[in-house]
Amino acid sequence: MKKTKVNTAHHKLNGKMIEFFGWELPVQYSGISAEHIAVRTGGGIFDVSHMGEIFFRGKEALNAVQYLTSNNAAKLKPGRIQYSGLLTETGCFVDDLLVYMMNEEEYLLVVNAANLEKDFKWMQDKAGHFDVKIENLSDDYTQIAVQGPNAEKLLSEFTDTDLRAIKYYRFENGKVNGVAAIISRTGYTGEDGFEIYFVSEKDTASAMFLELAEKGKKYDIIPAGLGARDTLRLEAKMSLYGNDIDDSHTVLEADLGWILKFKKGDFIGKEALLKQKEAGIKRKLIGFELTGKGIARHGYPIYVDGREFGIVTSGTYAPFLKKPIGLTYLPIEKCETGSEFQVEIRGKKVSAEVVETPFYKRQ
């Protein structure tokens, strides 16, 4: 199993370690519910070093990114970030990702750990004809996320960078605990917060995590694991690759049409998606609550008008909202709020209802 440079800190903090796509990472420290609620009320510190960092450098870096991804990277300025899709020819997801504009000839693409090798190969195969050097620097980079209403207060103790000046989906190059870092106001929790990227030795990375945990105490900020990361993102209805988005559902079906910029020029998947937009989609990803008893989980079958239609793509008990929630694809005519269907839980059909999303939105 691969270990992140923060690994020593997880063991010191009694993290309950699991394997996650080849990485040894903590699923929890004090408990998923406690960590989840801490992030909503104070904050949480996450080691997300398993995420992939791929750099595009060269004269045609922008052209390559524009061709490979669906959002309009030409709209970016240095220091700005956008959520985007790396798409198949059929308009489905190879992966979802963040695009950071470092400068005119350098972009950083942050991808899912589970897809890193696949994405890297895809990028090289599909954008080989551009004058760009595509480099996978994932093993060099540590990424620590500090998330929650008190995140800015804690992080300001570790940096001279004016954090208040960094707006949502923007970043600054600065120093955190003396280490050169990309300080990015982004996250996967539905809260305000930062993601910090840096290259360092193991000891430095672990020490930083431990110090964040120690100084975080007075702001009710605690270490948080993959368990809370998953329940937090689901409450905020942020899609997870492999669950809610994949290579068999299109961007339009995933209800992420806002990351498609058809007027920007050619990109992989454009043709298929334009056709689908014209014809109209037949199914769409929706959020639901169970009205019957139980908890819907990933993979449980769903029934519409008595017929099996698909599966719950993500489902959990939401620790902050204190109710069972989930995501699934439904026939387009069944997607309006209040529409009913059923989830099969251990052989029993339980009623569910389409609700407005995100389930949770910060004030």
């Binding site: 699923v27 929890q28 408990g31 998923i32 519910s33 406690a34 989840h36 368990g227 329940t231 008893k293 139980g294 908890i295 989980r297 959990t316 008990y317 620790p319 069972p324 251990r346």
Partner: protein, 126 residues
Amino acid sequence: MSLEDLKFSKDHEWVKVEGDTVTVGISDHAQKELGDVVYVELPPIGDTFAKGEACSNIESVKAVNDIYAPVSGEIVDINSALEDNPELINQSPYEEGWMFKMKMEDEGDLDDLMDADIYEEYLQGA
């Protein structure tokens, strides 16, 4: 309740024997491992289960966990308070967090269960 009155299974259920009836719950160790219990599915009264058969579920935020019948027999009572207050399993695993009662078919089933001190050793070794 004293732990000495209880017997434990390798699957971390506890059993209290009163005549031919057993009360069943999960151990303190098990509730700590599970974390916050958010949903409990209890067996229907009158159903019968063989020893070792899954008869109930406890769900934490992250996962569903089967609970196995520690003896063979019929379900004669369930703790319906758990439906609205599943956290009782965390707060009081040996008393208010009991799950169900069974009428035992064969007292010999108890032979495979451990006394509290042996269970403690089993946990150390696990």
